[in-house]
Amino acid sequence: MKLVTVSGPPSSGKTSVILKTLEHLQAQKLNVGVVKFDCLYTDDDEIYRKGGVPVKKGLSGALCPDHYFVSNIEECVQWGKREGLDVLVSESAGLCNRCSPYVREILAVCVIDNLSGINTPKKIGPMLKSADIVIITKGDIVSQAEREVFASRVHRVNPKARIMHVNGITGQGSFEFSTLWTDGDEVETVEGKKLRFSMPAALCSYCLGETRIGSEFQMGNVRKMDLGDTSRQTSDPMTSPKESK
């Protein structure tokens, strides 16, 4: 079984791109399936089912969605194998722009759209930076120049990635994209494999359910902004800011 991890900001067109791409694999009589990860709500599983694609959905709820992804991906791979899939796709929304669900040696795809603004490639961090393929969507409604500028911004953030334009509505580019999905290695298990990027340190009192605001309720890995006003800075060297640019 081949495994493809697809991620990207909400509403960038991941589901549409995946569905259009899977159509080409289904036409080649390959068995395909999807695991959809989200936080609070998704009805994308229905959309996949309508497309004749077996699907499992996982909602992380109160948990960090990317941690939830890593804790479940091996079980999902085993589900895919039991279903006899040739290609399993994991789809997850990058929500805090700090994580990426990509696993080393597993094809990593980031979907991002032309409408999201030219500074977005810089903002979304490892999800874009460590992808093998970057798919740019919604190219049919912006000018050629904006597509070129956007693609060059993506290239600047991730010079190694292959950048492709796919239209999730018409499917333009999806055939070409689908030819890259069957290139990867066969995956029996992801156990023992490593994430491409470490997940964020999230060990402060708010992770544990604290809701009150104020220094005395802040414990653990807390960092303060440098607002240039020394009189109000925290005195604890363990929690004071290590400013990084």
Partner: protein
Amino acid sequence: MDIRKELASIIVGDLNSRWPYATTFLAKNDLEIEDDPSQKLSEVASDELLDQLAEFIIEMESFLSDDEEVVDEITIFGGNCKNGEPEGVRELTIRVGEVICIVGPTGSGKSRLLADIEWVAQKDTPTGRSVLINGHTPESKWRTSSEHKLVAQLSQNMNFVMDLSVEEFLTLHAESRQTENPEEKIQQIWNDANALAGEPFDLDTPITSLSGGQSRALMIADTAVLSKSPVVLIDEIENAGIDRQKALDILVSQDKIVLMATHDPILALMGDRRVVINNGGMKSVVEPSEEEHANLVDLRALDDRMMKLRHRLRMGERLDEV
């Protein structure tokens, strides 16, 4: 990686002879280096800046070493129709400066033909077509590199979405293309666009407030001058607010191959040839006849009459007499 290592140990005095553009890059990032040529660069520049410089050098080197092969012609070898039968046109060569119209019913396979060209198909797409560039099998960069896109696309649905003035926007595009003489190019695009659009606009007009005709004019002039893609695909050019013949002339003058999907008789007759698509395949190639060209005069007169009627409607007149 090697460049980054070299940067870590290089002394300031050697920097300029090694990479002449590096000093300018550092100056742009507020780092002036001139005091002590024996000083190590890594002592004055932060790691982050050195990372950025390394990336910049890699980009510049690949840009400078790029002895671009100019695309003179594209040859498409026919494959199969949707029903599996071989398509009518077995070989079609299109040269720079040509305008080829693509006609056929909706869903007939126009997009697939264009996709085959863009992907430089090598019998590995559903149609089984193959595409040659300048008579030989193309390099893989046409597929893999975002810098070398074979096809630029213009369609009626496209809009500007960035919050920038015309000048800022063109500057940004020129920068991303690493264009030489950007000011000159920007001036040229602006002049061309204004010649195309009926109503002139200024360089400081926000691109999002351009009218439909002005936007289309700017997109065409910009694609002609700044886009490196040798093939331009146009999905119709609406018949309002833009001089369509001039638009094609501008593209052709910049050594583009123009492919135009259209149902408009006037546009179709402006092309050098037209490819008829049916049932997923290229059915035939039609060259406009003398008679067709002669009819262009009548068609333009008809068109003109329709335009005048539209104008009268807008002005609140009745069309009791046409």
